[in-house]
Symmetry: C2
């Protein structure tokens, strides 16, 4: 059956976004732009520093334009938290999952976490500032923040528990205690680097992790850790050398 022109036109119009779909896409793009600006603002000023007015200024939009995407300041704060959490998970957890399970994965997680906090020395960490801002302010924003902090704690707990199961950490080690101590190193890094501008804070956080392993890891765990950290040595192929000419004979 020959393909009729009307059929082609019909198929093409099905592929082209309709006016409704286009406006939806544009709406989502605008929302993403506002959210990105909101993340930057919240990292610097804290979640409480977020306001529809300040966002309108930063994005060059009208207040009502921002308001159309986030019905209230609370809704905006929770949207920022959700986006922040998604990026944290992506950077810290999903990236480390490819590493060998056990101590190598545990170290990969910690190092990714350090890297993220190091970037945030300039911009600020919403988890840390949020915990201080909302520690005694009950409500949906605090609830959302607690749920997210507990979610990454659970993910870390699983990774550390797995390192224990495969025999890389001592069987009598208390996983909760390890997490408490590591989180302390992260908080101390954030405090000393961001507030005191101490340039050696990152080294202290790395040394603290190594000391933690020296205490909690098994010999098998330390061996696996050393193997995973061993730099890959590339053996250079021998270049064919041109035969030496004995110039004394010429």
């Amino acid at each position: 059956m020959p393909v009729q022109a009307s059929h082609i036109k019909q198929a093409a119009s099905a592929l082209k976004p309709t006016r409704g779909l286009r406006s939806l896409q544009k709406g989502l793009q605008t929302r993403a732009i506002i959210l990105d600006a909101a993340l930057g603002l919240a990292a610097q000023m804290g979640l409480e520093g977020l306001s529809i007015g300040a966002l309108a200024d930063v994005t060059n939009m009208s207040k009502s334009g921002v308001f159309a995407h986030f019905g209230s300041r609370e809704e905006l704060q929770i949207a920022v938290l959700t986006e922040y959490h998604a990026r944290f998970e992506e950077e810290v957890f999903f990236g480390a999952v490819r590493t060998t399970r056990g101590l190598p994965r545990f170290r990969a997680l910690y190092e990714r976490w350090l890297r993220r906090v190091s970037v945030e020395i300039d911009s600020g960490c919403i988890y840390i500032s949020g915990a201080v801002e909302f520690d005694d302010r009950p409500g949906p924003v605090r609830d959302a923040l607690v749920a997210m902090v507990k979610a990454w704690q659970l993910a870390l707990h699983k990774a550390v528990g797995l390192a224990q199961q495969v025999g890389h950490l001592r069987a009598d080690a208390d996983v909760e205690q390890i997490l408490f101590e590591l989180h302390g190193l992260i908080l101390s890094l954030h405090h000393d680097a961001r507030f005191l501008r101490n340039p050696v804070a990152l080294k202290h956080a790395q040394a603290g992790f190594d000391r933690c392993l020296q205490y909690y890891a098994t010999p098998a765990g330390l061996a696996a850790d050393a193997l995973a950290r061993k730099p890959v040595t590339v053996t250079a192929r021998k270049r064919p050398t041109s035969p030496r000419i004995d110039r004394s004979k010429t």
Copy 2:
């Protein structure tokens, strides 16, 4: 020479406060009342939550009355910090100085610090919230806060250094590293207890300190620590017993 009545009158009037002195005393009392209320407000709401208006409400004074004692919000914030610092020093440092130098004094310091943070689980810690509030806000309040944090870090550094000098901590231990890790335990305690309402956070902070000692302390240090922690056993004096009466014989 007989004491004349006029002399007595003169001496008595010298002892009585003059009107100027009395008003000065009253002024200082009022200032102390405002400062006390300001400390409570800052612990709960953060230093940025402090305002002349809020303080006037809490103290039942007029705004101009509060303003007469603290010329600006910044001056008030710095006065609060100075008072907080004096109380922290009094509680944590001056109290621990009486303990035997070396590891016992180091432990006494840490435990007093823990006790203070434990009390602040309900009220909030101005050092911790202040560091987050002012981490990227330059100015005299930030400068004052940094100076105070550095002052207690120096005092702790001295105590830990002394424990190393008397041979209670390993000679190769890095004092800065130890302080970084201990401060992490304190920050983690504050986060988990105040924000996550985790009831076992204090136990983790105590266990973290013991683990730190197991790594950094010398056998002599651990022995001194154990001796200092040994509960004092009071040997009860033998009560004089009344002679037994052999009732079978009566």
